[in-house]
Structures are given as structure tokens and as C-alpha cells.
């Protein structure tokens, strides 16, 4: 059984584009909460928790809100990056990936937060985007969002979009139980929640995080809390959400709720050791809308199956800090099983996507000095096993760099990374992708 080769080639192009982009993204190390930055995503109430802002707060921008404050607090972060991709002009990547060295405005995120009472809080985070301007398609065309500006004699302007990163209301039910409702970042691992570029040491995410083996965010309910037992702190998270889907923030196409949870333990062992284990189970469905037809005088409604799979994800993480030394690691797995009659196309131009087991892990070590703007050398190794394909078996990256903090609210980063594809057949066997990235990030 085969499909015609043109589609196969297009699929290959898409694979390479995704692969190369992902590899480049994988090269930066995982976040390194600075020693002064609380790395825990979930401090106990009543301080707002799990919003990833503790890093920002400890940098002097976001202080704990008073129990009740009628004022709306607005703050955020932004970063600008200079990227250098060392690609030959005739490399496959050069046709699929911007090979030119360039400045890029990356993130411009705005937070709005308000304490509504002693126990009620609201948080919203939006990211302003230039996208879809500049989006490149498989056929080589590039979107340009030029339009006329009616406020300036119809001179041309390029418009962009807005991504709602999260918005939730939370309530302290009990000193050890806080409930969020809305769109929240999935509580798993070390990385996912504290995602603000000023609060992390690298310029982007490890591969296993970037590929979203756990959903990055969910919409639904999230309960969490902590319990102190002597010198130990035990934390928990439980989630109930729409699960993944193309419209997951406002629709649940399969009416099958996803469940997840996380347990953490913080212990004063040789410094501070934090351990975590996370799990998630849900159903993804992407389908067309219902079809209604009149048969024998009756309205008959049919729901297309579309593409649908059940998924289970597990993760474990460890973070050890000892003085100014910092070591963290995560391992994440994901199993996908398609439902009968709802299998997606492979994406490689031929056949259907198989059920799959993917996993990834990374390790990050860093040391923060007191002098020279708190210079922090770091190194990270990243290993990822994607869905099996005839082109790719494994992605491995190594990155090393320096991080400076000239001001509490400003971070400078420089990082060199290299990625390759162990076990890949000829097409990618000898491909090495090298990048050099400089970034300045700040909180405002």
C-alpha cells in the first residue's frame, strides 16, 4: 500500500523542518532557577502559586500580593535574541530553516494579577506575537500579514497575534488545598511552569519539554497544596481538564476528561534535594464538526471520528542545589494508542501514524559565581527518542554557555549548542547542527 511520492517528499520536508527547528530549540539548556529564585512551582497559599512568577518575584519585580488588593498589577518580561546557525548553503536545513544570522524579538509577555480577597486570586498571562507573519509553509511560501493602516493614510503595516498563555482564578479552600479553575500550566517536572526567559538560564527548552510529551497547559481544574513534615515538604497536584485538542481551551471534542497528578518531596539532603513524579492520562481528538442530514423526515446527526488517540505520560525529576552548585534532571515518557478508525496519517507521506512510545531526558549542571555579574557557566545534555521513523532514531544535543545578571531584572545569555542524530540512516547520519545564541531578557 502506498501513497504517491510527491506527498512523501512533502512529508519529508516537514519532518526535516520540524526536526531541525526542534534540534536547534533543544540545544539550549533547561531552566536554571537562580539560587535566589524559588524553583518550586507551587509555594503554599496564600501566596499565589504555580504561576511561574516566583522567579520573577524574587528578582524584585513580582512581590507577594497583599491578602487583598484592589489594584490590578501588570508586569511582564521580554527578550531579544541574536541567532547564528552554522549551516552550509547546500545543506538540507538551509532550504528549510532561516540560515541567516539574525536578531529576533522572541517573547513579549504581559501578566495581569489581582488578589480579590484573602483567599481568591486571579492571574492572566498573554504573549504578543508577530506570528502569523513570516510563517513558512511546506511549499516554500511565506505568510505576510501586511494590511493598510487606516490611521495612517492606509500605509502598510504588519499585524500579529496574541496567545493566551493562561488565565485562572484560584481559591484557598484550606491551608493545604488550593483550587485553580481556568487555563493553567500543567504541573509536571521542573521546567514547565517557570517558563519566563529571565528566570531561566538558557534561551529555549530541552527537546523533551518542547515536544510537549505532557501538554504544556490544560483547561479545567487544578488542586494543589503542600504539607511540612519535620524537615521535609511534601507537595501534591491533581488536575482534571479537557485534555489535548485543537480547541482545548473552550471545547472537549471527545467529552473525555483528562486526569493528572504530581507528587513532590523536598528534603535537606546535602543541601536541598527536590524529587518529583508526574502522570497524565487523556484523549486527544481532532475532528470536523457534526454533520446533520434529514433522512426519512428525521434529522440525523453524525459525529465524525476524526483523529483520536489515548495517551499516557509519566515524568520524574530531581533538582539538587548545594551552595551555588545546581544540578537538575528530568525524564519524560509518553505512550500514544490510536483508537480504531481514528488513526492519523503518518506525516511522512505514506500510511498511518503508528502507536508510539517516546521519551526524553536531559541533565543540567551550573555554578553561579558572586562576581562578574553573577556569571553562571552551565552545560546541558539532552537526549530524545521521537516517534520511530525511517529517517530518525534519536536526537542528541550538548550545549554550554554563560549567563550574566548585570541587574536583578536583566539577564544576558550566550550559548553554543550542537545537535546530531545517532542511529539515523544516510539522510541524517552525518548531519551536525551547530548554533550560537545570544539573548538579553528583562522583566518590567
Amino acid at each position: 500500500m502506498t501513497r504517491s511520492p510527491p506527498l512523501a517528499l512533502i512529508g519529508l520536508e516537514a519532518l526535516l523542518a520540524s526536526l531541525l527547528a526542534g534540534t536547534a530549540a533543544a540545544q539550549p539548556p533547561a531552566p536554571l532557577p537562580q539560587p535566589a529564585v524559588a524553583p518550586s512551582p507551587s509555594p503554599p497559599p496564600p501566596v499565589a502559586a504555580d504561576d511561574g512568577l516566583d522567579g520573577l518575584g524574587d528578582l524584585g519585580l513580582e512581590q507577594a500580593l497583599p491578602a487583598e488588593d484592589e489594584a490590578l498589577t501588570i508586569y511582564g518580561f521580554a527578550d531579544v535574541t541574536y541567532m547564528m546557525y552554522f549551516l552550509h548553503d547546500d545543506a538540507a536545513a538551509a532550504a528549510l530553516f532561516p540560515k541567516e544570522n539574525r536578531f529576533a524579538v522572541g517573547n513579549l509577555n504581559l501578566y495581569a494579577r489581582r488578589a480579590l480577597s484573602d483567599s481568591w486570586r486571579l492571574l492572566a498571562e498573554v504573549r504578543f506575537l508577530y506570528a502569523p507573519n513570516g510563517a513558512t509553509h511546506d511549499d516554500g511560501t511565506i505568510d505576510q500579514t501586511s494590511t493598510n493602516d487606516p490611521a495612517d493614510f492606509d500605509r502598510p503595516l504588519n499585524w500579529g497575534g496574541i496567545e493566551i498563555e493562561r488565565v485562572y482564578i484560584e481559591y484557598d479552600v484550606h491551608p493545604r488545598v488550593t483550587i485553580q479553575v481556568g487555563s493553567f500550566l500543567t504541573p509536571y517536572g521542573i521546567w514547565n511552569v517557570d517558563h519566563g526567559s529571565p528566570a531561566i538560564i538558557g534561551t529555549s527548552r530541552p527537546y523533551a519539554i518542547g515536544e510537549a510529551l505532557f501538554p504544556e497547559r490544560q483547561t479545567g481544574l487544578h488542586a494543589y497544596g503542600t504539607l511540612n513534615v519535620g524537615e521535609y515538604t511534601v507537595g501534591y497536584h491533581a488536575t482534571l481538564s479537557n485534555g489535548r485538542g485543537p480547541y482545548e481551551t473552550f471545547r472537549d471534542l471527545d467529552q473525555n476528561k483528562a486526569v493528572g497528578g504530581r507528587l513532590t518531596l523536598e528534603a535537606p539532603w546535602a543541601g536541598t534535594l527536590k524529587l518529583g513524579a508526574s502522570a497524565y492520562g487523556g484523549r486527544f481528538t481532532d475532528r470536523d464538526s457534526d454533520i446533520s442530514v434529514i433522512e426519512d423526515g428525521k434529522l440525523v446527526n453524525t459525529t465524525p471520528k476524526g483523529v483520536s488517540y489515548d495517551e499516557r505520560a509519566f515524568a520524574a525529576d530531581a533538582l539538587w542545589t548545594h551552595g551555588r552548585f545546581h544540578l537538575q534532571t528530568e525524564i519524560i515518557t509518553r505512550h500514544i494508542a490510536y483508537r480504531n478508525g481514528a488513526r492519523g496519517v503518518s506525516g511522512f507521506g505514506e500510511g498511518f501514524a503508528p502507536d508510539s512510545f517516546t521519551y526524553g531526558t536531559y541533565g543540567l549542571g551550573a555554578y553561579r559565581f558572586e562576581r562578574y555579574w553573577n556569571i553562571t557557566p552551565f552545560i546541558m545534555v539532552d537526549y530524545y527518542r521521537p516517534i520511530a521513523s525511517q529517517y530518525l532514531d534519536t536526537i542528541a544535543t550538548v550545549a554550554a554557555g554563560l549567563n550574566f545578571r548585570p541587574l536583578p531584572s536583566v539577564v544576558l545569555k550566550a550559548m553554543y549548542g550542537e545537535g546530531w542524530f545517532p542511529g539515523a540512516p544516510d539522510l541524517l547520519a552525518d548531519v551536525h547542527l551547530r548554533t550560537m545564541v545570544f539573548q538579553v531578557a528583562c522583566i518590567f
Partner: protein, 215 residues
């Protein structure tokens, strides 16, 4: 008690995380599918791709690889009950010499270039005048219902496709025989397919469905 609960949770976590590791090739695909060397799920023999999976063809049907449809084999037609029946005269061997096409309808002897024998078929105006396994070769001076041999046949090199109409082995991905050297705009391809210019990919021209052909 607490230790037992924690141990149970840890055990469940490890078991769950390891469960996926046990995924072997036989478990990766759905009904009427198999896990291919290309690391994707493809339909088993005599099954066709439909939305979301594969469906088996009825007994006696064959797969039209280019259009992913169940059709009657060359020389047969579907009767009122849906069963494939032989059509007298259609597909009979011929050579224009001692083997002639005597049926008044299937009186054309289609002989491929470099071949000595062919098959009896009929003249046509368009595809509707041919059985499902045939394509009306409207690019010919005198159009007739013809077949394309070897399409979708597994191959490692074009040597494996030699002697077939699908004489090109696509080794980048599908590792199957494809119809090459067609003419864009003339479209000497199986029904519902067009000739696609893939010279920018270093492949020349290949027959493909219109939606799969880059514009």
C-alpha cells in the same frame, strides 16, 4: 501504612511508565494494518486506506494502488450483486497475429512497447467507458481502455520494477514502483491521477493524485 501507600504509588508509576516500552511492532497498528519497514502503519494486502484506517476489499477484488480503491481485476466487472465476474473477451491475450481479439466490443489489442503479446480491450472516450481497473488512454490517437502494471509493487531499486508500466522505484520513502516519465499536461497516468513535475526534487515527473502534487 504511609510507606505502603507510597510504595504502591511508586509501583503504579513505574509500571505505567514501563508499559509503553513493551510496545512491539505487532501492537503499533490497527485492524487490517501492519507495521512497515518505513516505520508507519500500512494496509495489509487486499485492504485499502480509508479515513482513519484500513478496510479489507471483498473477496475477488484487487486494490487500485493509485486510487486506494477496491476494484475488480483486469478482465472482470462487478455484477449486480457486487461480485466480480469475468467479461468475455476483455483481457484475453493477443498479439495481433495468431491471437486476435474477436469480441466485437473488446476488439482492440493493446500491446506495450517492447512487448510481443498484449490484451484485448475496447475503445473509449473517457474513463466512464472502461472497467474500474482500466484507464481510458485519451492521450492516444485512438483512445482505448488500458491497465498500468506494477504500481505499488515493493522494490529496492528500479531493476525490481523492470518490465512494468510503473518502472521507477521510489527509494526515498515508500520503496514502491511508480509511474515515471509522464508528460505534464498530457497526464499519461491512471485514472484520476495527473503527471506531476518533481524536477525540483531531482525526480523528474511522476504520476500522482492532484492533491499530492506540489503546485
Amino acid at each position: 501504612m504511609t510507606e505502603k501507600i507510597l510504595a504502591g504509588l511508586l509501583g503504579a508509576f513505574v509500571a505505567g511508565a514501563q508499559g509503553g516500552c513493551a510496545l512491539d511492532d505487532a501492537d503499533k497498528c490497527g485492524p487490517h494494518m501492519e507495521f512497515s519497514d518505513s516505520q508507519v502503519c500500512t494496509c495489509v494486502e487486499n485492504a485499502v486506506e480509508v479515513t482513519g484506517g484500513c478496510e479489507p476489499c471483498a473477496p475477488g477484488d484487487v486494490v487500485d494502488e493509485m486510487n486506494q480503491a477496491c476494484v475488480c481485476p483486469a478482465g472482470q466487472t462487478r455484477d449486480g450483486g457486487g461480485t466480480c465476474r469475468e467479461v468475455a473477451g476483455l483481457g484475453d491475450p493477443c498479439n495481433g497475429d495468431d491471437l486476435t481479439c474477436d469480441d466485437p466490443l473488446f476488439n482492440r489489442c493493446a500491446v506495450a512497447v517492447d512487448a510481443t503479446t498484449g490484451y484485448c480491450t475496447s475503445s473509449c472516450v473517457d474513463d466512464s467507458g472502461c472497467e474500474a481497473a482500466y484507464t481510458c488512454a485519451v492521450w492516444e490517437d485512438e483512445p482505448y481502455c488500458r491497465t498500468f502494471t506494477g504500481v505499488g509493487q515493493a522494490c529496492e531499486s528500479s531493476d525490481d520494477c523492470a518490465g512494468n508500466d510503473a518502472g521507477f522505484c521510489e527509494t526515498l520513502q515508500s520503496h514502491t514502483c511508480q509511474i515515471a516519465t509522464c508528460t505534464v499536461g498530457i497526464d499519461e497516468c491512471p485514472r484520476d491521477n495527473i503527471c506531476c513535475d518533481l524536477s525540483s526534487y531531482g525526480l523528474g515527473t511522476l504520476c500522482s493524485s492532484p492533491e499530492d502534487c506540489p503546485t
